[in-house]
Symmetry: C2
Subunit: 222 residues, 2 copies
DNA sequence: ATTCCATATTGAATGGCATTCATTTTTGAA
DNA sequence: TTCAAAAATGAATGCCATTCAATATGGAAT
């Protein structure tokens, strides 16, 4: 018999639990920072026993990585259309970062989450190894354009994000100017000055429609 | 009577202890990373009781900050001469970073230490507050040249270092080209593209003094 | 030299937290 | 209904930063 014909209760519950844990993780870690977030609280908020978390995630860091991957996934979805619009990988990349910035600056939860992302970037890279970037569409899309080493793109992207996160969370980059930040990121991530300057000079190309904005459920009085 | 006439045994021991702790801290934290380093081991390596450490440093983070400050101090010493050679703050800054890079790439201990420096940059900034940058000669030197907000310089410098540390430790910046890295850092830290490009174009060492009219002309509109 | 106290040192105790694991509960097939 | 395998549980473990009550020490005053 087809074992898939009806997804058993277990499978469904597991899916629910995993999602609940990811959401709880994102919530708590965003609110308190990754270090201060306790597995206990995350478990409670996901209506799950403390030990159960470890059936789904090997460790706290592992959970954090999964949470960030989840965030990135959502980001990437908003980005992929662009590849039909632009033919220059630099443009795609720039646009991608632009999107990241717009979202990151607008969403307190992500900003706080990214705050501690050094470890995460590290873990992400270690976990991904050389070429298994199945899910990282941002990277994949860039790879479509004969960028020599797709892995490099992703690494740079993550560094850009981390660096930017450092910048805004520390307050040294007033996020008043997205374009400015983009330029800095481009420089930081290895595009040439000329590329960056040129990109900065020309206006942002026509944008694909943005999906409905998500609600920010987080307390703002922190 | 002059209480200083002979420094008592206590004062001498305290000085020794402090130094021993800083050295032990740098050693252990460099070897194992800040997180993995235990206060216990640091205390042992400094031939001191576990609790004693807290007579000298408020917390583990506090110790880490002191260790990094110590490193920075040594770095700064190698930098100060430059201020006699250059009159443009951008040059001084660029040269400073250049030195940091050269040293950091050559010294594994520092590289590893810087690796976890996100927290430290944070703590450093928190600790220093708006204007108490007495010891940060790098920043002070920059301040000599009418850079509007000296605090800003230091903040940016620390970010540059952190960012660079992320870069090399993660392997995304092959430190083959120091100059290139410098340019990226300059961009990242808020000098204008033009400034950076110009700096990149001309060889670092000798240059005619100029009034140094620094202006940030980056677009501020979205 | 001796006394004495302020100050420094100490390491055992505390508390918080990630992680583990022996039990219990649930599940789906027989 | 029965049963073995899988999943969930939360109490127990161990690690570690930090605290603190007890102890040792240095040097000033006698």
């Amino acid at each position: 018999m087809d074992t898939k014909q009806t997804e058993g209760r277990v499978a469904r519950r597991q899916k629910r639990n995993r999602i609940a844990l990811l959401e709880a993780g994102e919530e708590v870690m965003s609110e308190k920072g990754i270090d201060a977030a306790t597995m206990q609280e995350i478990a409670e908020r996901a209506d799950v026993g403390a030990g159960t978390v470890y059936n789904y995630f090997k460790s706290k860091d592992d959970l954090a990585v999964a949470v960030l991957e989840n965030v990135m996934e959502r980001l990437a979805e908003r980005i992929e259309d662009v590849t039909d619009t632009f033919s220059d990988p630099a443009q795609v990349y720039a646009f991608g970062i632009r999107q990241v910035l717009k979202t990151a600056t607008g969403d307190v939860r992500w900003r706080q989450l990214l705050h501690r992302s050094e470890v995460i970037a590290d873990a992400l890279y270690r976990r991904m190894g050389p070429y298994p970037m199945r899910d990282m569409r941002l990277a994949t899309e860039a790879g479509r354009f004969n960028v020599p080493d797709p892995a490099l793109i992703w690494r740079l992207t993550s560094h850009a994000i981390v660096g930017f996160a450092l910048g805004i969370t520390k307050g040294s980059l007033p996020p008043s100017s997205i374009d400015e930040a983009v330029i800095r990121l481009l420089c930081m991530t290895g595009l040439t000055i000329d590329d960056a300057a040129e990109l900065a000079a020309r206006p942002c190309p026509p944008l694909p429609p943005e999906p409905a904005p998500r609600k920010n459920r987080m307390r703002t009085d922190i």
